[in-house]
Point group: C2
Chain length 226, copies 2
DNA sequence: TCTAGCTATTGACCAAGATCAACTTACCGA
DNA sequence: TCGGTAAGTTGATCTTGGTCAATAGCTAGA
């Protein structure tokens, strides 16, 4: 882990993010003054489930996965965060990490002091609002995963994920590049990597072609029928 | 649905709840002035997934389940709320219901105007903090369910639920009464009712005896081994 | 260019839980 | 007290996805 200086590109990442983007620049500046940047190598652990956490984290680049560990050592992902996303903000109030955090790729992470942010949230309604909105959104993402796990088959979950990357408009074919390894997508969707692979294989008959990280959809309507 | 007056017992329910309990009485009084109470019969729908919601809801008595509906009409519970719990507060900021709400038992529900609560949260840091803490807690509950679904078998999930009702202390045997029908517990744990029944049957060999809604645990340590 | 290691795919097998059906138990109202 | 209905249990079968192993493909470094 190495300490870094913030670049103007980093600053842009903050300003265009969900949390910071709705705050006045002066407030953002005040918060960013306190930012401490670190790099993490792939597989580095940021914190463990149950740890006392005194920081809030933000992804400047790379990928972070949150996971819980079962008694038998197996891991289950509960969230994945990419560039521009804040995480572990719930620990400002819960105090302890609800899951472990690991860098799924080499990452640059900014950290902010929880106590200072709590004070700022108490003093500035805009900051409190930003947290409330962020937590509402985060909660919906988790609820989405729970509902999908409970309602959909593996293939339907993959189809749904693909459709969520469909550009707006009426195009029936499109392609996109997976922003991470397939094993990370498998974890996010609550599947074993083999099951993800089989789901892609099943979707091949519905016009989904996988070339490494590139996913080509030849018939969007066929996907929507899953 | 019938409109009701608030009783002193209702007021106590508010004051001892997670959300209201941490607020000054003057703030609680201001919020409760706006409360509108209604009764719902079992199976009454409060709102549907996707509805525009302009209220925040609170359970004074009874039981509310939030569920999502799949394309095939199947339902998956994503949360269950009992007396003293607030729900659909995320719609203050998301605007639309992320799930449908149904009374799982005859219920008395208080409703509060979202716009007024948003204004109050913007004006009063204590109210904003109460929402933030409530959303953090709520998010952890959802993450708990997601992680359990992904990590545990049906029997382990039931064992875990039972252990969460274990009184503090060193007693190795105890009993408690399920606060709702078993079919509601099944939904909450993401199981078919038959699967819940089989899990209880499996746990019989580990000292768990089911008598209607009464669950008797004869060997807590055996349960902890699941 | 080649080799080693990592990622992903495919095959085979097995376990868990859903689904459907039938039966039992419990509760409520007449 | 009796009958009807709802809740819960149990059996059988099927589907889905996990696990383990082997293989293929891809990438990076020498």
């Amino acid at each position: 882990m190495k300490t870094l200086q913030m670049t103007s590109s980093d600053r842009t990442t903050f300003l265009t993010s969900r949390f910071f983007g709705r705050l006045p620049c002066s407030t953002v500046d005040a918060i960013l003054e306190d930012a401490r940047l670190s790099t993490f190598k792939e597989h580095d652990i940021l914190f463990h489930q149950g740890d006392s956490i005194v920081d809030v984290f933000f992804v400047l680049s790379g990928l972070i996965r949150l996971y819980r560990v079962g008694k038998d050592g197996r891991q289950a992902d509960v969230a994945v965060f990419s560039k521009g996303e804040m995480f572990a903000d719930n620990t400002m109030y819960l105090g302890r990490a609800t899951a472990s955090a690991e860098a799924a790729e080499a990452s640059v992470i900014a950290r902010f002091d929880s106590a200072k942010l709590r004070q700022l949230a108490a003093a500035d309604p805009d900051v409190a609002q930003a947290f409330i909105e962020h937590l509402c959104h985060r909660g919906k993402m988790t609820e989405d995963l729970l509902a999908q796990d409970r309602l959909l088959t593996a293939t339907q979950r993959v189809a749904s994920y693909i459709l969520s990357h469909c550009p707006n408009g009426t195009a029936t074919s499109f392609s996109f590049r997976l922003p991470f390894q397939k094993s990370v997508l498998a974890g996010k969707l609550g599947l074993a990597p083999e099951a993800l692979s089989r789901a892609f294989s099943t979707l091949r008959r519905s016009g989904v072609i996988v070339k490494g990280r590139i996913i080509e959809i030849h018939d969007r309507l066929a996907l929507e029928r899953f």
